[in-house]
């Protein structure tokens, strides 16, 4: 019999419940408040007193209200039909909710009960299977969606029967499998999994090495992220975190994109709702929304489900990667998630760590990031979850607990900088502070020299050195004055500006410049390197800035033109003429 209890105390959304039976840590319960039932999660147990965090407002809750425990942790329901949906942090389908305003205690089933799916069997009678083995396949938005042995099933099973190809609902039995004791288990297309536990279905998890193309030059060229990699984007407000994140999610070469809008602005989510059904995936030509799942827990939605939302998103990502798909998970922003942890830790009167965050914050962040990765599945296929989180550091100070905890966990670091944003140099990723650890992997080096060119990494390092050098020279010019340094200092500085303006800066709102395919990135990098590797003939520093400003202007016009179009070629010719004016022949 399920454990029951009664409310004994209330402080904001932390409720103390007296119970009559066993409860588990993180177990889900429902508190009755008149007709509505409020969902809550167990956070702490102390004798007969159980502390639960309620996922909704507790207004009007009274001592003595009935509580019913469910016997399970917070779960998501997994099955075909999740793509294109807009869920809240607890996986309620937002589109199924009626009314303009959210109502307390309104929960719903996240999948479509009636829809018929075209099922194709993959397993055969007599096959030995285990958790996550592929039994069959349906097509979900033109992508193969595998129907798997539920992840919770332990041990090995023998397939007794598989449904014939045909149309089925998610509730229909599509296979019967027999366990080692001879008992039969009917499998349909739905399974459940507790969000706080990682789904482990791989044989091994090698170091990731395949470039994940995003079409953003400052990422792909300068600090690339890989399939199954982790990255984070910290930045003060107004430096373009969200624009960059949206750009990545629109353009990335992934099969599935999951966006967790965690404690951020509702209008930003609305932007996705409006744009994604219209915009095309540059890789397949299909609508972006078809490959996207949105988990929206905006900043005005209940704080407790904000914490749940990132786990919900990660669990759905793990479900899809077990099908051998490339999943990209974006969370904006992980700081809001950390703040939700802080609010609860505060109410539970735990001893605080730095900035009043819980002591184990860094461990929680680390554990979460480690759920991403590139894996070999048991059937030999590969799957990946690439995770990019944004961090909103308080006061723009990167020495705060969330940024520091994340820095330990993530392998790519895209530091957005106020100074660059102020000067409208977007994306405002600081090229010198930012890094990608993947560049150092020999696996990646080997891969990239195959798909781009063998000297690619060397070229990228060249421009990085030039940017660094440009910065140093600029400081010297600022100290010594324009005419206090040799003319070739100005030349170095302006070459670094060429790199900045032509490679690093990119107009996310321009139709053409917004997406820069790898081939084009290579073309522009070669072009810029060629400009920078030449010496020029200048008499004084004024000529240097005038000349390079003209070069930058032409190169920018090239970025705005269709690749290899007439106007692109025209600008290339103009550029060649201009270069010939001053370049010293080698």
């Amino acid at each position: 019999m399920a454990t029951k209890g009664k409310v004994k105390g209330i402080i904001s959304n932390l409720v103390t419940v007296g119970v009559d039976g066993p409860v588990a840590q993180n177990e889900i319960c429902y508190i009755s408040l008149g007709e509505v039932k409020l969902m809550a999660e167990v956070l702490k147990v102390n004798g007969d007193n159980v502390f639960v965090q309620v996922f909704e407002s507790t207004r009007g809750l009274k001592v003595g209200n009935e509580v019913e425990f469910t016997g399970h942790m917070l779960e998501v329901t997994l099955g075909p039909g999740m793509l294109s949906r807009n869920y809240d942090g607890l996986q309620n389908d937002l589109d199924k909710l009626t009314g303009v305003f959210l109502k307390r205690g309104e929960y719903n089933f996240p999948l479509d009960n009636e829809k018929l799916w075209d099922f194709k069997p993959l397993a055969q009678v007599g096959d030995k299977v285990e958790a996550a083995s592929w039994l069959g396949e349906v097509e979900e938005n033109f992508q193969p969606h595998k129907i798997m042995v539920p992840f919770v099933m332990e041990g090995t099973y023998t397939v007794k029967s598989v449904a014939a190809a045909g149309q089925y609902t998610i509730h229909d039995t599509i296979a019967v499998i027999t366990d080692e004791d001879g008992a039969d288990h009917e499998i349909n297309m739905i399974q459940k999994w507790p969000v706080k536990k990682a789904i482990l279905v791989h044989t091994d998890k090698p170091r990731p090495f395949r470039l994940l193309e995003t079409g953003v030059r400052t990422i792909d060229t300068v600090n690339p992220i890989v399939e199954g990699g982790t990255g984070f984007i910290p930045g003060p407000f107004g430096t373009g975190k969200t624009v960059l994140q949206h750009a990545i999610s629109k353009q990335a070469d992934a099969d599935i994109v999951i966006m967790a809008a965690c404690g951020e602005r509702a209008n930003e989510v609305v932007e996705i709702f409006v744009e994604f059904p219209e915009l095309e995936d540059p890789h397949t030509g299909r609508k972006l929304m078809e490959r996207t799942i949105i988990i929206a827990n905006t900043s005005n939605m209940p704080v407790a489900s904000r914490e749940a939302s990132v786990y919900t998103a990660m669990t759905i990502a793990e479900y899809y990667h077990a099908m051998g798909l490339k999943v990209l998970l974006m969370a904006d922003s992980t700081s809001r998630w950390a703040q939700a942890l802080r609010e609860m830790s505060n109410r539970m009167e735990e001893l605080p760590g730095q900035d009043a965050f819980p002591m184990d914050l860094s461990a929680i962040i680390g554990a979460f990031y480690s759920r991403a990765g590139y894996v070999h599945l048991k059937n030999g296929a590969t799957g990946s979850i690439t995770f990019i989180g944004t961090v909103s550091p308080a006061g723009g100070n990167l020495k705060e607990p969330v940024t520091e905890g994340t820095k330990k966990a993530a392998r790519c670091f895209y530091a957005l900088e106020q100074n660059r944003a102020d000067r409208k140099r977007y994306p405002a990723v600081n090229p010198i502070d930012s890094y990608s650890k993947y560049i150092e992997y020999p696996e990646f080096e080997e891969y990239i020299s195959k798909i781009i060119s063998p000297d690619w990494t060397q070229k990228v390092n060249e421009i990085k050195t030039l940017l660094q050098r440009g910065k140093e020279v600029q400081e010297q010019i600022n100290i010594l004055g324009d005419d206090g340094v040799p003319v070739d200092y100005h030349e170095t500085f302006w070459k670094s500006e060429v790199v900045d303006f032509v490679i690093l800066q990119q107009d996310a709102f321009d139709k053409i410049d917004a997406v820069c395919p790898l081939e084009r990135q290579k073309y522009m990098l070669d072009l810029v390197i060629d400009i920078c590797n030449h010496d020029y003939d200048f008499n004084n520093f004024l000529d240097v800035s005038d000349y390079f400003k003209r070069i930058i202007n032409i190169c920018k016009q090239m970025n705005y033109s269709e690749f290899h179009s007439e106007s692109f070629k025209d600008y290339q010719n103009k550029l060649n003429e201009l270069l010939a004016e001053k370049q010293i022949k080698k």
Binding site: K8, G9, I10, I11, T16, S57, R59, G60, L61, K62, V63, N86, L94, D95, L97, G99, V100, F101, L102, K103, R104, P236, F237, G238, G263, R265, A266, N267, V269, V270, F273, A296, T298, S299, N300, M301, S333, Q339, R342, E343, N346, D355, A356, F357, S392, A394, G395, G396, N397, K424, N478, G481, D482, F509, L542, S545, K549, N553, K556, Q557
Partner: protein, 440 residues
Amino acid sequence: MAQAFQKIYTKITAITKATCSLKADGVGNDELATVNGKLAQVVRIMGNEVTLQVFEGTEGIPTNAEVIFLGKAPSLKVSEQLAGRFFNAFGDPIDGGPAIEGEEVEIGGPSVNPVRRKQPSELIATGIAGIDLNNTLVSGQKIPFFADPDQPYNQVMANVALRAKADKIILGGMGLTNDDYLYFKNVFNNAGVLDRIVSFVNTTENPPVERLLIPDMALTAAEYFAVEKNQKVLVLLTDMTSYADALAIVSNRMDQIPSKDSMPGSLYSDLAKIYEKAVQFPAGGSITIIAVTTLSGGDITHAIPDNTGYITEGQLFLRRDSDVGKVIVDPFRSLSRLKQLVAGKKTREDHAQVMNAAVRLYADAANAKTKLENGFDLTNYDERALDFAKDYSKQLLAIDVNIDTTQMLDVAWSLFAEHFKPEEVNIKQELVEKYWQNKA
């Protein structure tokens, strides 16, 4: 005010500066009560021990004070009668007029389902180029002025409100000085728009904790007009720093562990709950929030402006430009995140590029100025950038400008042509060909 069926408690067990506790049964969380006639709210229940936050403060409350629970959360009566009226933080009239009749609605109501929101798309024209050109406002947006206490933010806000063509303007004044309160009253009165205004005011003369109710009161009234009447509502909240300070006072007195700058750990969520009420409803109504967050010494890393910046859709900075002797909207630090929803769509095609180019050139002028101050020689380009900056500041950024956006763009192009060559402004060639104003 006790009614026949209400139980009166008379044994208070604990009193602090802001709260008192007593033993009572059947009390709901967030419920209102009166303690010797002073309004209070339930903030904590442990068994039969109930803690009440007394809005006016607990001065003079005896242990045998009469406590009556009202069985409801704070609420406001809403109807058309709200228009033209002034209220205190509890929603009681302070203008000597009669009480409002209407439906009683709990304040701080539920959030809008994000999938039911419409994307904001209507331009709010203010005539101020520093806003319309560089930081265009959109209906359904939420944006604060980040200003030092001595800057004329209330004046600018009143101007914006009057020019914005809203159906209703709702003023939420928190810790407003009496003089500023009268200023708003006069401006609205003189403009003959008093019937479009609803005001909820807590002046510095009222207890600070009362302020916590002001934003929810104002936004509940706003939701009534925007949802029930499909009106475009503009909500002015000044000053949100006073609101956050009141939050800190309460949290401190409830023995909560403070996070950054002595602010409660929940500051972000508390502020977000207010600002996220800004919305474009599908049926046409909208709530736009323009707020003021006063800074201490221009420090935007303080927890209040910092958390605000992460919630709001941009921010507006005012600055006195000593070169032209005027208050301007600072183009570097100001930002409207929704501007691309209207710039170039509801305004002329060249809007976005002109805006960026002008700000970039203004930044060049700032660099030149630094050089000048450090005693270096200026190049010809530097000189021209500095001249441009002065004209730009005077003719576009100053808060006394009042022209439409097309005029603003024309002014910008004429300044480009006056001071620069086309290749120096870095604008798409086709736009340069169309709009560059060749001076013979």
